[in-house]
């Protein structure tokens, strides 16, 4: 999910409250090389693709049970941006979290945005 909006308008309070967590500087993210961040008590895998877009998925690999998705190889399949789990190599769509090798499986995606130099992930 990519959003490049300004920070959510503060104090408007009518919409559902979204808590944004700053995870790192945009420049800390190397293109196509993921990192893992703690957001609340969840492990979130964060990717910056080649075109500069940001994506955030749960770091938990549903096939192995280990928190390793951030260490997978980033690429494309049929034009979709993807990451391959480093454990058993199933491929996930970065925008939807859908597993492209097993349609029954998907991982949660998180909203992510750039706020100036910083990268923020939505907590819920």
């Amino acid at each position: 999910m990519t959003e490049t909006l300004a920070p959510a308008p503060a104090g408007t309070g009518t919409l559902n409250e979204t808590r944004w967590t700053t995870v790192c500087d945009y420049d800390d993210l190397q293109p196509e090389r993921g990192v893992c961040a703690l957001v609340g008590d969840r492990q979130v895998a964060i990717f910056r693709t080649y075109d500069g877009a940001l994506h955030a998925l749960s770091g938990h690999d549903p096939f192995s049970g280990a928190n390793v998705l951030a260490w997978g190889i980033v690429g494309t399949r049929d034009g979709l941006p993807t990451v391959a789990s480093p454990m058993y190599k199933q491929v996930f769509d970065l925008t939807t979290g859908r597993c492209l090798d097993d349609p029954a499986v998907s991982v949660p995606v998180f909203r992510i945005r750039r706020a100036g130099r910083r990268v923020e992930v939505a907590e819920s």
């Binding site: 049970g65 690429g75 941006p81 391959a84 480093p86």
Partner: protein, 821 residues
């Protein structure tokens, strides 16, 4: 009503004319008589050399009985007024139409002694040559040597044939470089190196003064002693009959004809190498066949025309790749690539907008010739640069229907596709039989195969060698592209030769190629994002997301001090330890952020990376050897250490394992390794391409009783050749099983340098050895790389809380969380 056709000469052109006419003249309009001077009916002159080398039978299939073929008879005159030809057998043959297909004769330079020289045109010429070569040493009492005068396509072919007859061969070319009609100076110089590498001596820029019974004298008083001298200095069209009959001939020879191949006399045609059509005499069989087809059509009332022909040619010389296509001398844009080390020279001539291919030459690597030739005059599918490096290769399926694939037989892509579809053809021989494509010089066969593959694939038969959806190339092809073009990043490679942004298949392949070619540290810049699971953190990922640490222990030899360090490190970081099957020690259960600290301790104690994580050399196991063992005959530990240190860090298509045993009892299991060495009384036996694993294979004995230097040289070449040519994740065992020619071929490449690449392989290995440095030390010295060894980007020191262990047999083991999907 039947008419009489007389054909003078029975070479390839005449043969094709008669075939075509007999096929189409269902009404039997023409009664055909052919008069041929040679003692036998027409044969495949293009393949003449194979008569010498393989005693090949060159004969074409005979015509049907209705055709009268008078062999061994020469036409001596044409009487156009009477409408007859006369022969040296005293016959007078009346005609309603006459076709001159008298071909050409080799040009014999007017130098003194020319009568002692041979030419290279007919089977009789070759018989005479063979006899002379056999007697070459007797007549001269000098070394058995041969000289070919003329360094063009045919001259080089003849020179190689002389070599095959056991002669020490020289080539003399008056132009400043070889194949001056096809090549420019750069290409000629490169070709010269290849020819010299075959063991021939080349003299260029020097004229012939005279031929003597025992040799030749060149300008500048250079004398070459030789029992056999062959002229191959061009051809002269045989137009004497036409000339005597008052028909116009060209200033430099050739019977003048129009685009119907008709002379000034409407009843007389000329085809093949004797004809001057559109101001050209064609010395290639393809245009000769086309002329034959045109005349066959005309004789049956058709309107066919000869509109010029493709002049692409390829040198038919084992081991030397030279090709020229289109018009390489066209005055337009040049794209030139030279690799002096590999002996490659490539030049493309493209239109000023760089879109249309006009021509080009390839020396040293003509693999893209069939595809490029097919694109002459057409719009290139990519940039000229991509075309140079095989970018059109994949285009077999996409070639326009009208593209001529086989210029010898004028067969288009459309014809081939139609034949495949209509007749359900599934292999190349069937396509050849059905369409004639590939039955001439053979150079179009790879492209025919490509079209066939493309058609079969389209029909649902799987034949692709594409790495993945991002690259149409195999790993070996990508390796060459990266090496030859000096590409240093994945982004450049995929932008120019692929599509999309890669995946977990192609990225590690490219990472490995870049590493094999020595492009710095595997985690430098963009390369970091290409690395497969274990390479990413230079450690093996375990089932719970932790990592293992394996320091190198060359040959399995370790001091008590270092053993103690390993024990201390494992105790301090709480790691599980185990002796591996590779004679070293593995420490399991380390978290990402612990890896640098652990490695700092190990490196301070003198350890280095063991590359247990890489597709690289793993271990060189050894037995205890002659130092201690009562049966040992050589120091297996010493050699194992030397080998392990030499090849450590070498990135390859798959992991590489080795072992050295000190005697034939083979305690180190060397015969189950990619390269294994077993000591003998006289040296070392080398075994190649074994492995354990899923499909065990015993290694093959490659060479015996080698001294250590030779042993290492062979292993160097073996490894580098494997690194360059194997497929992704192909170990040496299956690589060798798939290598055309197998072990014998491998021996020819490594021991005899059949491909002429050994110097390059040796140099590549020297570069690897000289460029080695410890990958883990480099990490510790680079803060930017170190920064990445954290579990959480926003909590660098924090361990992953989901990693939990429990005790088992006094050590740790992972506690796995329930897998929830």
């Amino acid at each position: 009503m039947t008419s009489r056709l007389v054909v003078v000469g029975h070479g390839p052109a005449a043969h094709r004319l008669v075939e075509a006419l007999r096929e189409r003249d269902s009404a039997g309009r023409w009664r055909i008589t052919v008069v041929g001077e040679e003692p036998r009916a027409a044969y495949d002159r293009v393949a003449l050399t194979s008569y010498l080398t393989d005693d090949a039978d060159l004969g074409y299939p005979p015509h049907d009985e209705s055709v009268v073929v008078r062999t061994g008879e020469r036409v001596t005159a044409i009487d156009r007024a009477a409408g007859v030809v006369r022969t040296d057998a005293g016959a007078t043959l009346p005609y309603d139409a006459l076709v001159l297909a008298t071909g050409s004769v080799p040009f014999v330079p007017p130098v003194p002694g020319a009568e002692h020289a041979f030419v290279y045109r007919t089977i009789e010429d070759l018989d005479a040559l063979r006899a002379a070569a056999a007697g070459a040493d007797l007549t001269t009492s000098r070394p058995r040597a041969g000289v070919v005068v003329g360094g063009g396509l045919l001259g080089l072919e003849a020179a190689r044939a002389l070599q095959g007859l056991g002669l020490d061969t020289h080539v003399v070319e008056v132009a400043p470089w070889l194949m001056p009609r096809q090549l420019d100076e750069g290409g000629g110089a490169m070709l010269r190196r290849h020819i010299e590498a075959l063991g021939m001596t080349v003299h260029t820029g020097v004229g012939l003064e005279r031929v003597e019974p025992g040799g030749v004298r060149l300008a500048g008083d250079v004398v070459i002693d030789a029992g056999v001298v062959v002229f191959s200095a061009g051809i002269r069209p045989r137009d004497d009959l036409a000339r005597a009959a008052g028909l116009p001939v060209g200033e430099r020879g050739g019977i003048v004809v129009d685009d119907a191949c008709r002379t000034e006399d409407p009843r007389v045609f000329a085809i093949g190498e004797c004809a001057l059509v559109g101001g050209m005499v064609y010395g290639l069989v393809g245009p000769c066949f086309t002329m034959a087809e045109v005349v066959a059509d005309r004789l049956l009332g058709g309107e066919a025309r000869f509109t010029g022909a493709d002049l692409s040619t390829q040198l038919k010389l084992m081991g030397v790749d030279v090709a020229s296509f289109g018009d390489p001398s066209a005055d337009a844009l040049d794209v030139i690539y030279t690799d002096p080390v590999a002996g490659i020279y490539k030049r493309l001539v493209v239109s000023d907008d760089a879109q249309t291919l006009l021509g080009g030459v390839l020396v040293g690597d003509a693999s893209s010739y069939p595809a490029l030739r097919a694109y002459v005059g057409a719009k290139l599918p990519g940039t000229p640069e991509q075309a140079l490096f095989g970018g059109t290769e994949a285009a077999g399926g996409a070639l326009p229907e009208a593209t001529v694939i086989c210029s010898c037989n004028n067969v288009t892509a459309g014809t081939i596709r139609a034949a495949i579809a209509e007749d359900g053809l599934t292999d190349v021989p069937a396509v050849k039989a059905c369409t004639r494509a590939g039955t001439g010089c053979g150079s179009c066969v790879p492209l025919v195969k490509k079209i066939l593959d493309a058609e079969l694939t389209a029909a649902g038969v799987e034949v692709s060698k594409a790495l993945c959806e991002h690259f149409d190339h195999s790993r070996a092809e990508l390796f060459d592209i990266v090496r030859v073009r000096g590409i240093a990043t994945f982004s450049q490679l995929i932008a120019e030769h692929g599509r999309g942004r890669g995946c977990d298949i192609c990225k590690p392949v490219v990472a490995s190629i870049l590493a094999s070619l020595g492009n710095g540290h595997i985690l430098d810049g963009e390369q970091a994002g290409l690395q497969d699971t274990n390479d990413r953190f230079l450690a093996n990922m375990q089932k719970n997301g932790t990592y293992s640490v394996v320091p190198r222990i060359p040959g399995g030899e370790i001091t008590p001090e270092r053993l103690i360090v390993i024990g201390e490190v494992a105790r301090e970081f709480g790691l599980y330890t185990k002796i591996t099957g590779g004679q070293r020690i593995d420490m399991f259960g380390a978290r990402v952020e612990q890896l640098p600290e652990i490695w700092k301790r190990l490196i301070d104690a003198g350890f280095e990376s063991g590359h247990a994580y890489g597709k690289a050399l793993r271990t060189v196991k050894s037995c205890v050897g002659s130092t201690w063992c009562r049966y040992g005959v050589q120091d297996s530990v010493g050699l194992a250490i030397r080998l392990e240190l030499r090849y450590r860090g070498l990135r390859a298509p798959h992991k590489i394992k080795s072992a050295v045993s000190g005697c034939a009892r083979e305690c180190a299991e060397a015969q189950s390794k990619d390269f294994g060495v077993i000591a003998t009384e006289r040296g070392w036996n080398l075994y190649l391409a074994g492995n354990g694993g899923m499909r065990p294979r015993h290694a093959d004995l490659f060479a015996q009783d080698l001294d250590e230097d030779t042993l290492i040289r062979y292993i160097d070449r073996f490894l580098m050749f494997y690194v360059r040519t194997a497929d992704r994740l192909q170990r040496t065992a299956s690589w060798l099983e798939n290598l055309d020619g197998g072990l014998d071929y491998l021996r020819e490449v490594i021991v005899e340098d059949r491909l002429g690449i050994c110097a390059e392989l040796d140099a590549a290995m020297e570069r690897h050895v000289a460029g080695y440095s410890d990958e883990w030390r480099a990490i510790l010295e680079d803060p930017e790389k170190l920064r990445r060894f954290v579990s959480f980007v926003n909590a660098p020191g924090m361990p992953d809380p989901s990693i939990v262990f429990e005790p088992e047999r006094e050590q740790i083991k992972p506690v796995m969380v329930e897998v929830t999907r």
